[in-house]
């Protein structure tokens, strides 16, 4: 069941999506898991895998602990050339479910600037989100990042 949502809820959901992009793009990656509920799910997959019902994507976090492990590995273990993203998130389709959660779908375009100065389109696609109230703030219960392309440029370290 879905219904039209009010302007206040829409504003808060859009705020959540905007803050998420800012945290990742501005190197505050430690805050990334906080956008999810404790057992929230984060999956980066491809349009093809989604269409064919294939569960394995490119990155999968089953709960905030796995997101924290991603952050720790990124900061302390993984060898990669430094780079930053810039998310351009399009307008969001939102519907409300009977259980008080929201479904949201937004297009994204992610640009990547590398250490050598090259600016490239790293990926584009859509976010499929399930958003719930956690006390008085909104969090992701599930965020599925669906890349249009199945091809990743070199590697994926920083979450999308």
């Amino acid at each position: 069941m879905s219904g039209i949502i009010d302007a206040e809820a829409r504003a808060q959901i859009e705020e959540l999506l905007a803050r998420y992009a800012h945290v990742i793009d501005n190197d505050k990656i430690e805050d990334w898991p906080l956008f999810f509920i404790e057992d929230g799910q984060y999956l980066v997959t491809t349009r093809e895998n989604l269409a064919k019902g294939r569960p394995v994507g490119i990155m999968y976090c089953d709960g905030r602990g796995m997101m924290q492990d991603r952050v720790t590995a990124l900061r302390q273990a993984i060898v990669f050339e430094p780079h930053v993203y810039r998310h351009i998130v399009g307008s969001t389709l939102i519907s409300a479910a009977a259980d008080g959660s929201y479904s949201a779908e937004s297009n994204f375009h992610i640009l990547r600037t590398g250490a050598d100065g090259a600016v490239v389109t790293y990926g584009c696609g859509r976010y499929l989100d399930e958003i719930v109230w956690h006390r008085d703030e909104l969090r992701f219960r599930r965020r599925t990042v669906v890349l249009d392309s199945s091809r990743i440029d070199t590697l994926l370290v920083i979450p999308l």
Binding site: V44, T45, T46, E48, N49, K52, R54, P55, V56, G57, I58, M59, Y60, C61, D62, G63, G65, M66, Q68, D69, T72, A73, Q76, A77, I78, V79, F80, E81, S150, R151, I152, D153, T154, L155, L156, V157
Partner: protein
């Protein structure tokens, strides 16, 4: 470019312990590889039978630079032909996969059967008696270029060379046995993706055969004793030395002094997983092997790491770029819990894999650093100067030397 095979492009005297950097850059050499390796007497991976279950189902792939169609014929047999119309050279199948009644070129409607034989040509006899092909035009003279096809446990291989040895001889008894052991039940595809690497395909071929880099480059694995070199394991090879199998049993790891010394960067990273379910696993094969990687010449890896089963196919994209295709497999008998465990473990591999993602960058690090270098060579002496099995240790580059010995034989270089 000045010089030829016998001058600037001569191999150094030290055999397989030295690799001249020009082999990763030279455009002529790249063209020769297409001829001597990819269109030569080797078996190249084409895909999985489960991708084309029904007659008329097809997938496309590349053998080196050459585009190919792999299709299931009416009698269930698998056929492979070059994806290039005999008329004007257009691609015939322009989608990654699909279902067709025949192979029809979109350009001028030349129609081929699944063996690649030309069956009809539009307007062959003209329109109302005018135009048409010459009277002596023979359909039989214009077939698609076929590949020989062979399969093992649902993996499809193709070869352009009529003289290629049978697939099981090419792989050798040890590797055949391990493919059969790994894909020992009906399986399904859990996910697919690829990653571009800005490096020559041979840098990745070396990387995937280099059994001593993981503990040094991939800190994550070492931290959690996933695949430490001190675990029981070794390297086997086929009789002819074309392919390698590295395997280990995880639970035999008793700490060794070197490993715990602070000298290893990997060990300086002192953290524990916040959620150890990431590496939750079960011993799935009777032999107790928890990590095994088969590197099949020229461009295929079949890996089982814990409960992750993955096919990795490297496709060269010119001298300076390549694309690695990952296909993650599960077994059809899997229940939800097993699928969930495989899904969590998939974080270890692929373009975002904790113990594989650096491989996407390290080839580029080399490629950037050797730019234009025509004199210097890489050194490949860890574990000695020979090519051979290494039953007791993985701290060796024997598989890398084995790759170069095979490469030089194919290339006559």
């Amino acid at each position: 470019m000045a010089g030829g095979r016998n001058s600037q492009r001569a191999w150094p005297d030290d055999g397989v312990t030295r690799v001249p950097y020009f082999v990763y850059e030279d455009a002529e050499l790249y063209q020769e590889e297409q001829e001597r390796i990819f269109r030569g007497p080797a078996w190249n991976y084409l895909g999985l039978e489960i991708e084309i279950p029904e007659p008329g189902d097809y997938i496309t792939n590349h053998v080196g630079d050459t585009p190919v169609i792999v299709v299931r014929a009416e009698d269930g047999a698998i056929k492979a032909v070059v994806n290039r119309c005999a008329h004007k050279g257009s691609m015939i199948c322009y989608q990654p996969s699909g279902h067709v009644a025949a192979l029809t070129c979109p350009y001028h409607n030349w129609i081929y059967d699944f063996d690649g034989k030309l069956k009809s040509v539009a307007f062959r006899h003209g329109v109302r008696g005018q135009g048409g092909m010459p009277a002596d035009f023979e359909l039989a003279e214009h077939s698609l270029v076929p590949l020989k096809v062979a399969t093992i446990r649902g993996m499809i291989f193709g070869s352009f060379a009529a003289t290629v040895m049978p697939l099981d001889e090419f792989l050798g008894t040890r590797l055949v046995a391990h493919v059969e052991r790994t894909l020992n039940r009906p399986y399904r595809i859990l996910g697919r993706c690829s990653q571009t690497m800005r490096c020559n395909w041979k840098l990745y071929a070396e990387n995937s055969r280099d059994t001593y880099h993981p503990s040094l480059l991939h800190s994550f694995a070492t931290m959690f004793k996933l695949n430490r070199l001190s675990a029981e394991g070794g390297i086997e090879m086929d009789e002819a030395g074309l392919h390698h199998l590295v395997s280990a049993r995880r639970h035999t790891d008793n700490s060794s002094a070197d490993y715990d010394s602070a000298a290893l960067r990997a060990n300086e990273v002192g953290y524990a997983l916040a959620d150890p379910r990431l590496i939750e696993d079960w011993v799935e094969w009777d032999d107790g092997i928890t990590n095994s990687i088969m590197t099949l010449f020229p461009c295929l890896n079949l890996q089982q790491s814990l409960n992750t089963v993955a096919v990795r196919q490297m496709v060269p994209r010119g001298p300076f770029e390549s694309e690695l295709f990952w296909t993650f497999l599960g077994f059809t008998e899997d229940d939800e819990r097993k699928t969930r465990i495989r899904l969590r473990q998939s974080n270890l591999f692929g373009p975002a894999g904790f113990i594989s993602l650096e491989d996407g960058a390290i080839g580029e690090f080399v490629q950037k650093a050797i730019r234009g270098e025509r004199e210097q060579t890489a050194i490949i002496e860890m574990g000695g100067r020979e090519v051979g099995p290494s039953p007791k240790t993985r701290t060796t580059e024997t598989s890398v030397r084995g790759f170069w010995r095979t490469y030089r034989r194919f290339m006559n270089l």
